[in-house]
Every structure is written in C-alpha cells, then in structure tokens.
Amino acid sequence: MLILARREGEAIRIGSEIVVTVLEVDGERVKLGVTAPRHISVLRQELCEAITQENRAAADLAEAERAQALALAQQALTAGRASAP
C-alpha cells in the first residue's frame, strides 16, 4: 500500500482523472473531496462490504436446499401480498 501524508487543502492525484483532496481534519474524522469522471463510482467501503457479504451468503445454498428456499421465499412474498394485518 502506498502511504502519503497530507494536510488540509492538499490533494493526491490518481491517474490523470481522479483527484482526492483532504478538505478537513477534525479529530478522528477526515473529510475528503473526490473528483472523478462520471463513469467512476465512488463509494464508502463498508457499504460495498455489506453487499459483498450478502451476495456471498445468498449464493451459499446447497443444491438440495435450493428448492426448499425457493418455496419458502415464494410463500413469504405471496402471503405478504395477500394480507397485511
């Protein structure tokens, strides 16, 4: 990992199109500004990790369990629509 020390107002450039600027440092929090082309999505890492975890968990169904899971999901969704107590 490349490690760079930066102060408020200083920035780093990644490639020719991405600039990350340190806008504010306040105790444990750092405010960053990211300038990137529109086709590059910028996301907080923990969001990606939450989704990764869900993706892996959802895919982790044994062949034998899949039919049961499918039936249960179908039941839950159709029951929810039929009656809303």
Binding site: I51, E54, A58, L61, A73
Partner: protein
Amino acid sequence: MMGQVETASAVKGFDLDIYFPEGLIGCEEWQHFVLEADPATAPVLVMRSLDEPAVSFLVTDPYLICPDYRFELGEADAAALEAASPDDVAVLCILNVQLSPSPPLPQRGEETEGEGVVITANLLGPLVIHKATGRARQVVLANSNYSAHHVVAGDRGADLEPAPLPAGREGG
C-alpha cells in the same frame, strides 16, 4: 441524473441472459447469468450463474417487499448500463434465505426447525438490468436508508436487527 426508476413489472416476461460487465459487488468473477422466470415460482426468479454452475440466486421484484421502493440511478450506473431512460431498465433484488440460522441463545427442549427460517432482501444493492440488452449492474444506493439485510420473513431475523431509533429527538 436520470429520473426515478420505477419498474414494478420487472418480474413479468423475463427469461434472458444477463451480463454484469463488472460482476456482482465483491464477486467480480460472476458476470454471466441466466434469469429464469418460471410462472410456477413467481414472484421469485432464479438467477443462475453461467460462470460457476453451483452459484444461483433467488431474486424478486423489490416493489413487492417495499411498495415505495425507489431510487435515482446515478450517472455512472446509467452509463455502465448504456441506459438512456429509466424505462430501459428493470430492477430486481437478491433474496437471502437462511434455512437454519444459529439461535441467539441456546434453547433447550423442542426442535423448531421450520420456525428458524429467515428471509431477507438486499435492498441496498439492487440489480439493475437493461431490458433490451441484458446488460446489468449491481448498484449501491449510497444515500438511501435501505438495508442490505431487510427482513422479509422470520421473527428471529427481526430480533437480530438493531432496535429502530425513536422517530424524533428532543428539541429537534
């Protein structure tokens, strides 16, 4: 910015090859899937991996779970999908069915196998699919309050969720 995506009819008439150029989030190697819409299993569809035969997902229309589910499709996402309008795309969400989650506390006595089922939906990372081309992308609704682990059925799963905060704080 594109307009809001509203595609409640996503589940109907779907049976196609879909391609995630960047794979699923955290699973970049899973790119090619076939979406199987079997009327017998509606409104649940099976999204089966063509890259890895053991991998398949149960997916559904998120509007069935959360009737006011909506989001703005970001420019990066719209560009990746090559979508010109919200009408071009359909939205699905992945279901996670846990058949036997480990109970929070050890329980003595009776086995309650059937009641241990927890079904959650990933509303934070929906799948957006270009209806004409099958080009697809898992997007992250970064500025929403949607959960990656929205409980659809199963009390135990609800118990595991953190208690909701009170609606209003004192003094606003």
